[in-house]
Amino acid sequence: MGDSDEKQKKDREIESEDVDEIDGKRMDGWADAATVTIRTRKFLTNRLLQRKQMVVDVIHPGRATVAKEELREKLAKMYKANKEVVSVFGFKTHFGGGKTTGFALIYDSAESLKKFEPKHRLVRIGLAEAPKGGRKQRKEKKNRAKKLRGTKKAKAAAGKK
C-alpha cells in the first residue's frame, strides 16, 4: 500500500484587500492548499483480466472531491505505470467531507485496457467514442440489423454512414 502526499504551496499571501468576505465566509482562491493522501486497500492482481485492482481511499481535508484525472496521475506515479493504463471509477465522498472512496484498475498494457474495459469508461478516458444518435435511433438500427445476416449487416451499417 503506498501513500503519496502532496503539499501545494500558497502562491500569494493574504492581504486584507484581497480577501472577500461573503456571508462571513472567506472566499480566497486557494482551492488546492491542502494535502491529498491516497491509500490503497484490498489490492489484488487479476491475471485473468491482466490488471491490478484495488480500492482507493483519498483523504482531502478542506478540499472538494479530487478530480478523476488528477487521481489517475497520482496512482500512475504510485504504481510506476503510465497514466493511460489507469482507470478509476466509483468515487463517493463520505458524509461530512474529507474522505472519498473509489476503485482503481491498473492494466498491464494499453491493449489490455482497450480489450477489457467497458465502453462507457473508455469514453470517459477518451479512448473510444460514444455511439451517436439517440437511444431510439440506436435501438431502431439494431432492430433493422436483426433482419440481415452476416456481411450484409456490415454493408448496411457502412451504407448508413
Binding site: K42, Q53, G90, H94, F95, G96
Partner: protein, 323 residues
C-alpha cells in the same frame, strides 16, 4: 457422644502424620531429581547438548512451567516459614513467568492442529493404520481429497444398504459419528427462554464493548466509517450498511440508493451522524442479564439473612441495646 471427641483427636493426630509422610516423600523425590540432573548438567557443560540453533517452542514451554513450579514451591516455603514476601524477587519472577505463559497460549492454539496430528501419529505409529482417505500423517495442509473419498464410501454403502434391504437385513448407513449428549434431553421452556435472552444480551452494545475491552485481539476501528454512513442509525442499519459496504468493495460496483433508503432520508431524518440517543433501546437487549444476576445473588442474599438473624438474636440475648 463420648466417642466423638476421641475421633476428632485421632483425626487431628492423623493430619500431622500425613503431612510428615508427604514431606518425606517430597524429600526423597528431590534427592532423586538431584542425582538425575547432575549428569545432564555435566553433559551440558561438556558441550554435548547443543543449543546454538535456538530452542523449540514446546521446550521453552516446559522449561518455563518447571521454573514456575519451583518458584511456586519456594514461595509457599517462604509463606510457611513466616517470612515476609514483600519486595521479594520471587514474586516478580512469578508474575513475569505467568505473563509469558499467557502470551504463549494463542500461539499454542495456532499450532494445536499440527501438534495433535504428530502426537496421534506417534501414538499409533507402530500400528498399521489403513490410510483413510489419503491421510498422510505428515501433511498439515487441508486435504480436499478427503472429502471425495468419503463421498465414494457413502455411495458404496448406500448401494450395499439397498442390496441388503432386498435380502431382508437392515443395515444402518455408516455416517460420520456424532456425540450423543444425554444431558440435553428435552429442554424446558424456561431454559430455552433463558438461553435466548442471554444470546440477545450478548449482542447488545454494552456487552460488546465489554467483550472488545477484554479481548486480546487488536481492535480495528475506522474513524469515519464507510461510504454509506449517515443513511441510518441503530443496530440493524449499521449491519445493513456494513453489508452494503462489503458488497460494494468486493465487487467493485456502486449500488444505487433504494426507494426505502431514499424515503428514510427524505423524512425528517435527513443525513446526519449517529448520536447516543439513537441507541437508547439497548436496555431492551439486556433483559437476560438481569435474571442471571438475580440467580447469582440469591445465594449471597440467604447468607446475609442468616448472619443477620444470628447476630440479632445474639445481641438481644447478651447485650443491652443502647438507643
Amino acid at each position: 457422644m463420648a466417642d466423638s471427641p476421641i475421633a476428632t483427636s485421632t483425626s487431628t493426630e492423623n493430619k500431622p502424620s500425613e503431612l510428615s509422610v508427604i514431606l518425606k516423600d517430597l524429600k526423597s523425590k528431590v534427592t532423586e531429581l538431584k542425582t538425575q540432573l547432575k549428569p545432564i548438567i555435566q553433559r551440558y557443560h561438556d558441550g554435548e547438548i547443543k543449543t546454538s540453533k535456538g530452542v523449540s517452542f514446546l521446550e521453552v514451554k516446559y522449561q518455563l512451567m518447571v521454573q514456575y513450579i519451583t518458584e511456586l514451591a519456594y514461595y509457599v516455603h517462604l509463606k510457611l516459614s513466616g517470612k515476609s514476601i514483600e519486595n521479594h524477587p520471587v514474586v516478580n519472577s512469578l508474575i513475569e513467568l505467568r505473563v509469558i505463559l499467557d502470551k504463549m497460549k494463542p500461539i499454542e492454539n495456532k499450532l494445536k492442529y499440527q501438534i495433535d496430528k504428530l502426537v496421534r501419529t506417534a501414538v499409533m505409529g507402530t500400528q498399521k493404520q489403513p490410510e483413510v482417505g489419503n491421510q498422510d500423517p505428515l501433511a498439515f495442509k487441508p486435504n480436499p481429497m478427503n472429502l471425495l473419498a468419503r463421498d465414494e464410501e457413502e455411495e458404496e454403502e448406500e448401494e450395499e444398504g439397498e442390496e441388503e434391504g432386498k435380502s431382508g437385513v437392515y443395515r444402518p448407513p455408516k455416517l460420520a459419528p456424532v456425540v450423543y449428549d444425554e444431558s440435553k434431553g428435552r429442554k424446558s421452556k424456561y431454559e430455552k427462554d433463558q438461553e435466548r435472552l442471554r444470546e440477545r444480551s450478548s449482542r447488545s452494545r454494552v456487552i460488546r464493548d465489554l467483550m472488545a475491552d477484554m479481548n486480546d485481539a487488536p481492535e480495528e476501528v475506522d474513524a469515519m466509517g464507510g461510504v454509506n454512513e449517515g443513511m441510518g442509525y441503530g443496530e440493524r442499519f449499521d449491519e445493513q450498511l456494513k453489508e452494503k459496504d462489503d458488497y460494494e468493495e468486493n465487487n467493485y460496483v456502486r449500488l444505487a440508493v433504494t426507494r426505502k433508503e431514499k424515503q428514510r432520508l427524505k423524512a425528517k431524518n435527513r443525513m446526519r451522524f449517529e448520536t447516543e440517543f439513537d441507541n437508547l433501546n439497548d436496555f431492551n437487549n439486556l433483559v437476560g442479564i438481569q435474571d442471571v444476576e438475580e440467580e447469582e445473588n440469591e445465594r449471597f442474599k440467604n447468607v446475609l439473612n442468616r448472619k443477620r438473624q444470628r447476630s440479632e438474636s445474639g445481641a438481644g440475648r447478651s447485650k443491652k441495646r443502647s438507643r
